[in-house]
């Protein structure tokens, strides 16, 4: 592989040597090591700086999401999904809402779908910005953490206008949004669309073609497409290995088929490719937002779902029917069909799936989250074998392992 050759060229010691001559030391990365950006543990066996083998321990913030979801009515699960991949909570929220909508067979207006696309792509930008800035920090370019975070604040402001929270958004409801885009949101979004690209390109130019950064990241933690598929990789990490699989294209949801965007792919599946794929995805997300926003259809911001979407407050006070629905929805007494649904969205880290089994009761009978982080993180020891400690750190940050999603 090309990546390996590149790596060798940069290496003084011969990596192909299989026998280990030195003593093997064990070092613990984590649970609170600065490189983990979350809580999980990597036990590395190292020979000098070279990693001989690695083993991970996860579960340090296991919060029993799936059990919790079995004890909460459908509308109360949205806040729980917030905390899966907390860098891009709206994607999780909306993915869950779409799962329930699929279960109940709801018809969602085009406007809601477009609004969702805008919000989800904003969330994707926020997610990738964190990951890429953290790659920069781990590579030692500390300033690259601050520029993207200033941009993230603007995305937070946008969230705040719609749902009233910054990070754990609890955005949207089953059947639509809690409120329409307001004037402030429109102004802020327009200014974001204008100011974000130059700021982003500036951040990009600090790292993208910087030789120190390229040397650090090229060849660090590569994985081939075959291995990645075998490990059930999805998302940017898989695309970095050269596979153009994207749920948004393969199985479009929420009108993604209407938009024109590219799927960025890498070549070697190494850290540089992962970084570049994420950077390009941010640009593509901007394209999608622009398309969705300029074609935003007129119409209601919610579906006609009296059984699930709360009626307007004014009606609750005045109309008997609305009051009954209000109580039914809050108490979780509405009719929910029994059945099982799998719905997948393209989350920040890959295919985020919701496998929902309903027995018609108030709460889901079983809700399983397909958490991309959890699945691809197991390939980590294989990816860093033979690399140095510095590579291991960069590989970890470029894989974007989010502890909330990892441990659920």
């Amino acid at each position: 592989m090309e990546a390996k050759e590149h790596y060798k060229a940069n290496e003084l010691t011969d990596l192909s040597k299989d026998t280990i001559d030195g003593e093997i030391a064990t070092i613990n990365f984590g649970p609170t090591h600065p490189s983990t950006h979350g809580i999980f543990q990597n036990v590395l066996q190292v020979d000098g700086e070279k990693i001989v083998s690695a083993e991970q321990t996860v579960g340090y913030i296991h919060r029993a999401f799936e059990k919790l979801a079995e004890r909460r009515p459908y509308n109360q699960i949205t806040p729980i999904t917030d905390r899966l991949n907390y860098c891009s909570s709206p994607i999780n929220n909306i993915g869950w809402e779409m799962t329930v909508e699929k279960l109940i067979g709801a018809e969602i207006p085009k406007r809601v779908q477009y609004m969702r696309v805008i919000i989800m792509e904003l969330a994707r930008i926020a997610d990738h910005l964190i990951c890429d800035s953290v790659i920069g920090v781990d590579a030692g370019a500390l300033t690259s953490f601050f520029y993207p975070f200033t941009e993230r604040e603007k995305i937070y402001e946008l969230y705040e206008e719609i749902c009233g929270a910054r990070l754990t958004t609890n955005i949207g409801r089953i059947g639509g949004f809690e409120r329409d885009f307001n004037e402030t949101f429109h102004t802020k979004l327009k200014s974001f669309l204008k100011t974000f690209p130059p700021a982003f390109e500036e951040f990009n130019s600090m790292l993208e073609r910087n030789r120190i950064f390229m040397d650090r990241t090229k060849g660090a933690g590569p994985i081939s497409a075959e291995r990645a598929l075998n490990y059930s990789f999805t998302g940017p990490n898989l695309r970095a290995a050269g596979v153009d699989y994207d749920v948004r294209v393969a199985q479009p949801y929420s009108s993604y088929e209407d938009f024109d965007f590219n799927i960025p792919v890498g070549v070697n599946g190494d850290t540089y490719d992962r970084f570049m794929v994420r950077q390009e995805e941010i640009r593509q997300s901007m394209r999608i937002i622009q398309q969705a926003y300029s074609n935003l259809p007129e119409g209601p911001y919610k579906a006609d779902l009296p059984e699930f979407f709360l009626p307007p407050k004014a009606e609750v006070y005045n109309q008997m029917e609305a009051l009954i629905y209000h109580f039914k929805i809050i108490m979780g007494e509405t009719h929910i069909p029994a059945g099982e649904v799998y719905h997948a969205v393209e989350g920040g880290n890959g295919e985020l799936g919701y496998y929902l089994i309903s027995d018609g009761g108030r709460n889901p009978y079983r809700l399983q989250f397909r958490r991309p982080c959890f699945i691809y993180y197991q390939a980590y020891p294989e990816m860093i074998k033979g690399m140095t400690i510095s590579d291991a750190v960069l590989t970890l940050s470029s894989m974007n392992v989010i502890a909330g999603e990892l441990d659920a």
């Binding site: 600065p34 700086e49 030692g140 370019a141 500390l142 300033t143 120190i212």
Partner: protein, 342 residues
């Protein structure tokens, strides 16, 4: 021995010591402020006006913090480590010519604690002891991160010292002396070495970054990999000494660069002044240059990513040392031609 000379030298030592410490302390403040400005922030502004008391607050806090020694560490080495670091960082300042001679009470006072005729060698000697501080500290901590940091630091210093030394031979060739005073004197006015030896300066500058463990060569303590590197287990004032030593050596390196390549206290148009005016202006010129370099050190740190360990070695051994040798050879040949040896 002349009592007046003793007093003179003693007060000079105290002044230089305090200035070095003060500049190191305020370098931390300036670094934080600069980092903040680069990052669109405002930086410390709570402690005193504009946060100017921040270094003092840090110092007092570190003094008052519980000072403990890990159970499995080597107690004496653990204590000696930071001491060596601080000592070597400060001792280099003895041979820095801070300015032209000044006249006080009719005495001609040279603004240099000691003028060795082997000044450059002395610096190399002392700096190579400096690595022992880090190594001993890191080893004594009995912590793997510290050990890694120590190993990285020592191998890095050894590698970069070579390139640094070879690159400096050109300056010695140009001047014909190992004494810093002579080197400065030979750069009178604008006759600075940088105009003759830009490549040499570049090599020296890169090596200084590596010698002082500054980004992009801060592998010994890189936070994202080794937590705290060699000072992971240190707390309280021992940590303070380590951190301080880094800033002191940054200051000294900047001063050295000013002396070796930018004419030290020389400035254009210095012939129009004499006596104490010249001395004061000279000192000002010297510090301006030094601060400029400190600024560049920090500016670089907050801009670029760091190297990986093997790349760092690669750069040192395969790029800088050959470049320094070629540069030295070319200079030697040119000098030989000029003197008509061929």
């Amino acid at each position: 021995m002349d009592t007046a000379l003793l007093i003179e030298k003693f007060s000079l030592v105290i002044i230089v010591f305090l200035i070095s410490l003060g500049i190191a302390a305020y370098s931390t403040y300036f670094e934080r402020k600069l980092a903040a400005w680069i990052q669109d922030r405002i930086g410390p502004d709570r402690a005193g006006p504009f946060g100017l008391l921040q270094p003092i607050a840090d110092g007092v806090k570190m003094f008052m913090k519980e000072d403990f020694i890990p159970k499995n560490s080597d107690k004496w080495l653990f204590i000696i480590g930071p001491g060596i670091s601080m000592f070597t960082a400060l001792i280099t300042s003895t041979i820095i010519p801070w300015g032209p001679p000044i006249e006080i009470f009719g005495r001609q006072i040279s603004l240099q604690i000691a003028d060795f005729n082997i000044g450059v060698l002395f610096i190399f000697g002392v700096v190579s002891i400096g690595v022992y501080g880090i190594m001993i500290g890191g080893w004594a901590s009995n912590n793997k991160y510290s050990l890694f940091g120590a190993i990285r630091a020592s191998s890095q210093m050894i590698s970069y010292e070579l390139a640094m030394g070879i690159s400096l031979i050109t300056i010695i060739l140009l001047t014909g002396s190992l004494s810093l005073t002579d080197i400065v004197k030979s750069q009178h006015g604008m006759n600075w070495n940088i105009f003759y030896q830009p490549v040499c300066f570049l090599i020296f500058f890169i090596c200084s970054l590596a010698e002082t463990n500054r980004a992009p060569f801060d592998l010994a303590e890189c936070e994202s990999e080794l937590v705290g590197g060699y000072h992971t287990e240190y707390s309280s004032m021992k940590l303070g000494l380590f951190l301080f030593a880094e800033y002191v050596s940054m200051f000294i390196s900047s001063a050295l660069m000013a002396i070796l390549f930018f004419g030290g206290y020389n400035f254009p148009g210095m012939d129009y002044f004499d006596g104490n005016t010249l001395a004061i202006l000279g000192v000002l010129a010297f510090f301006t240059k030094t601060f400029l370099f400190i600024f560049v050190f920090m500016w670089i740190r907050w801009t670029i990513p760091r190297f990986r360990f093997d790349q760092l070695m690669h750069l040192g051994w395969k790029t800088l040392i050959p470049a320094a040798i070629i540069n030295m050879l070319i200079t030697a040949i040119v000098i030989a031609f000029n003197k008509g040896w061929f």
